[in-house]
């Protein structure tokens, strides 16, 4: 038999018919023995003059029987069971079974709560591992994006240098083109001089022939001058050819410089756009890293649920001890634990969730999320 506290609302009624039967026999036997012992005195008191004494003695006897019965009733629940009948007995039997089941359930509750706690801890671990994996992946992307960003920046600078070189090349080509034009003008002048010299030599030869013997030496000079003018002509022709070739080359270089300039403008544009895109990727990575803070928030929420489960384990352990033992109920009321939960919250969203369930009010956050003092 389990000892229950006096204030337990459910009365304990053992289901032991043989014990009840035996105790009833003992009780009846005790009354019979008492009647047998008092039999001579009963005969004596049945006389009319002793009726009052008889009534008193019967009353005393009944009182003794009832007192013994009550005493046994208090000590032995089997007798109580014998004296109680009908729905009350059945109800108490059901309550006793419920109580036994409740005690069994309370024994299982720590295990049940431990399973929940374990599952929540595992969920916490999973989100933490997941967040760390994501950040590891981001950490691999980060140096690559930074290297790519640096390369693009470098390429942009190189494209700028190349464009400057192409510009200088175009300027040099223009200078060469100007020089070749000047040279062409100079060769034209020299050719004119040679032509005049040739005429002069011809005239000199005519005058030398007219002078006869005296002009023979002069004729030699005129002939040499004529040859000189012819050589000048030939040289000028070669110079013209060289200038024409150079002009052609300069013209080609100039076209190439223009092409290079266009190409570099295009490369610079690509580099600038790519740099901007990489910068966006860079910012996206920073944003993604910021969003990882969700894990810390959910971790703290889950940890608080785990702590609440631990509180429940303590609570129901105290309830179970009180149900099983003779001591007064001494556990902390569940309402106080609910209030304690509210006090332990750190996040506004936790207070809002709590208030939504309990119907309590919660004040809106008046301070900004970012506050500089």
């Amino acid at each position: 038999m389990k000892n229950l506290p006096d204030n337990c609302p459910v009365k304990f009624i053992p289901d032991k018919p043989w014990l009840n039967f035996s105790l009833s026999l003992v009780l009846c036997g005790a009354v019979g023995v008492l009647v047998w012992v008092l039999n001579p005195w009963f005969v004596e008191v049945t006389q009319p003059e002793n009726r009052l004494a008889a009534a008193v003695s019967i009353g005393v006897t009944m009182f003794l029987v009832i007192a013994v019965h009550q005493y046994l009733y208090r000590l032995v629940p089997g007798i109580r069971h014998q004296t109680e009948t009908g729905t009350g007995v059945l109800q108490r039997a059901r309550q006793r079974k419920v109580m036994e089941q409740l005690v069994t359930d309370l024994e299982c509750f720590p295990q049940f709560a431990d399973i929940l706690r374990g599952q929540l801890s595992a969920a916490n671990g999973s989100t933490e591992a997941g967040a760390i994996n994501i950040m590891n992946a981001l950490s691999h992307i980060r140096p690559k994006s930074q290297a790519l960003l640096a390369t693009l920046k470098n390429q942009k600078e190189k494209a700028g240098d190349l464009a400057a070189q192409a510009h200088r090349l175009a300027q040099n080509a223009q200078t060469l083109r100007n020089l070749s034009q000047t040279q062409t003008q100079l060769t034209q002048t020299v050719r004119e001089i040679a032509k005049q010299t040739k005429i002069l030599a011809l005239n000199a030869a005519i005058e030398a022939a007219r002078a006869g013997e005296a002009g023979s030496a002069f004729a030699v000079v005129a002939d040499e001058v004529h040859k000189l003018s012819q050589q000048t002509d030939a040289t000028m022709a070669q110079i013209d050819q060289a200038i024409a070739a150079m002009s052609l080359s300069v013209s080609g270089n100039s076209s190439m410089a223009v092409s290079l300039d266009e190409m570099n403008r295009y490369l610079t544009q690509i580099a600038t756009e790519s740099h901007a895109e990489m910068d966006h990727i860079h910012q996206d990575i920073i944003d993604a890293l910021g969003h990882m803070q969700f894990q810390d928030i959910s971790r703290q929420q889950i940890e608080q649920v785990i702590a609440a489960l631990e509180d429940l384990i303590v609570h129901f352990a105290a309830v179970k001890v009180a149900l099983e033992g003779p001591q007064e109920a001494s556990w902390l009321p569940l309402q106080e634990r609910i209030d304690a939960l509210r006090r332990d919250y750190v996040m506004h969203r936790q207070r809002v969730t709590h208030a939504a369930v309990t119907g309590q009010t919660t004040t809106a956050e008046s301070r900004p999320a970012i506050e500089l003092f």
């Binding site: 933490e128 980060r142 890293l289 969700f294 894990q295 750190v346 970012i370 506050e371 003092f373």
Partner: protein
Amino acid sequence: MAKTIFIIDDSAVMLMSLKQTLEMAAFQVETAKDGLEAFQRLKSGLKPDLIITDINMPNMNGLEFIKNARIVLRFTPILALTTESQAAKRDEAKRLGATGWLVKPVAGPDLLRVIKQVMPGI
């Protein structure tokens, strides 16, 4: 030379997230997992240009850390970055010498903007 930021948080995820964000912004980052470890690092000679600390931590919480850190570093800005939203704790942090209070989650660009506001010379 890169400025040094000291982050204190008991969450591995938060430490990793903040470290990467700040390194991408060209800061040098030091970390500690609670207030006690952080205070020991300061006593060992670490002189960060900025401290970012969580509030609810084991061993030594953020408020105690701010109080102790102010003995060693009087002028270094200290930001509290926490899920804690109680006004009383916020006021307590202010009284102990914190420079600002940021409630998680704080987006990366917002954090960098606040750092630029409180850190001299950047």
